[in-house]
């Protein structure tokens, strides 16, 4: 049967695989035949994700804290070594959200958002585009950005900036890494049903207003995983430097 999203034979690194979008993405990619490296900070949570995937024996787990920015390229080299193959794809789902009104921003709390969301993404690009990490046929990198990158949300300037920056990174990297046939794209989700959304529920977020604005409803994380699968597949071989908004209509 014709399946344009077939990922058989592809090795894909998923960061933030411990929960939420990362976990759902890992499960979707495994169902499409990808071999995975599941990365996150919590070994026990990674094992739970592994247990939910198809062919768990096929995949690897790698515990790593992306806050160790300068160690990321070395870690990627170790992952490639462990897997015995270069990376056909990377989906960077790891990230944090936090309301940070301007009246309380500090270098510390700005960094707490920028480091996992943006700085780690840049270091990952360095790692996964290194000579030994890229297959001859090229690779596909997907960043999970946010519809917040396109919106004006009081209290979310730092978070929105970190996600908007990923769009700029993807555009520049798409050109810079073109010679290596590495494509770089972003997915910008609206409100997705994950633990991060539950966290937002405690942060004085007006869910009635959101449900009205996101008129197609709250998003299931496996929808994001399926879009990532598309961008990783050869069906998306002409797509690079782009951003795909999946927001249930919120930003309209």
């Amino acid at each position: 049967m014709y399946n344009p999203l077939d990922l058989s034979g592809k090795l894909v690194l998923v960061t933030g695989a411990s929960s939420g979008i990362g976990r759902a993405t890992a499960v979707v990619l495994s169902r499409l035949g990808a071999r995975l490296v599941l990365a996150g900070r919590r070994a026990d949570a990674l094992q739970e994700t592994l247990a939910a995937t198809e062919n768990p024996a096929n995949h690897l787990c790698s515990t790593f804290d992306l806050a160790n920015l300068d160690d990321i390229p070395k870690w990627i080299a170790e992952v490639v070594n462990l897997a015995g193959a270069p990376l056909d794809g990377t989906v960077h789902c790891a990230g944090v959200t936090s309301f940070l009104p301007l009246r309380v921003v500090s270098s510390g709390n700005i960094d707490s958002i920028m480091v996992p969301n943006l700085h780690a993404a840049l270091m990952l690009l360095r790692g996964v585009s290194a000579r030994n990490a890229v297959p001859a046929a090229g690779a596909s990198v997907v960043f999970i950005s946010s519809a917040a990158a396109l919106m004006a949300s009081p209290g979310l300037s730092t978070y929105s900036a970190s996600k908007a920056a990923l769009g700029a990174v993807a555009r520049c990297a798409a050109k810079e890494l073109a010679a290596k046939r590495v494509r770089v794209n972003c997915i910008a989700p609206g409100y997705v049903k994950t633990p991060m959304l539950d966290q937002a529920a405690n942060a004085f977020v007006d869910f009635d207003r959101i449900e009205k604005a996101q008129f197609l409803g709250f998003i299931d994380p496996d929808e994001i995983g399926t879009m990532a699968a598309y961008l990783l597949s050869s069906a998306a071989r002409s797509i690079t430097g782009s951003q795909f908004v999946m927001d249930g209509g919120f930003t309209l």
Binding site: S98, F99, V104, P154, A201, F204
Partner: protein, 78 residues
């Protein structure tokens, strides 16, 4: 943490003088006590005291004293 420290924190979040905050007053009486002020309070509580407020907590608050009591009981439980 002391009640005075909490009042200072609220004043910082609301951008008003601490002397203007009276614990027996209702939160609704402060026009500055809007959602942005709440987000600021939550960011400061998290950063300074590692304390988080839940949606259920918010629903229970009527007076400033309610908020103080909730936070101090969380602090002593920690």
């Amino acid at each position: 943490m002391t009640n005075a420290e909490l009042v200072e924190l609220f004043a910082e979040a609301l951008e008003i003088e601490a002397s203007a905050i009276q614990p027996e007053k209702e939160i609704a009486e402060y026009k500055e006590w809007n959602s942005l002020a709440w987000l600021t309070i939550m960011a400061l509580l998290d950063e300074r005291y590692n304390i988080q407020l839940s949606a259920a907590d918010f629903r229970s608050f009527v007076t400033v004293q309610d908020v103080i009591d909730n936070i101090t009981s969380k602090a002593s439980a920690a």
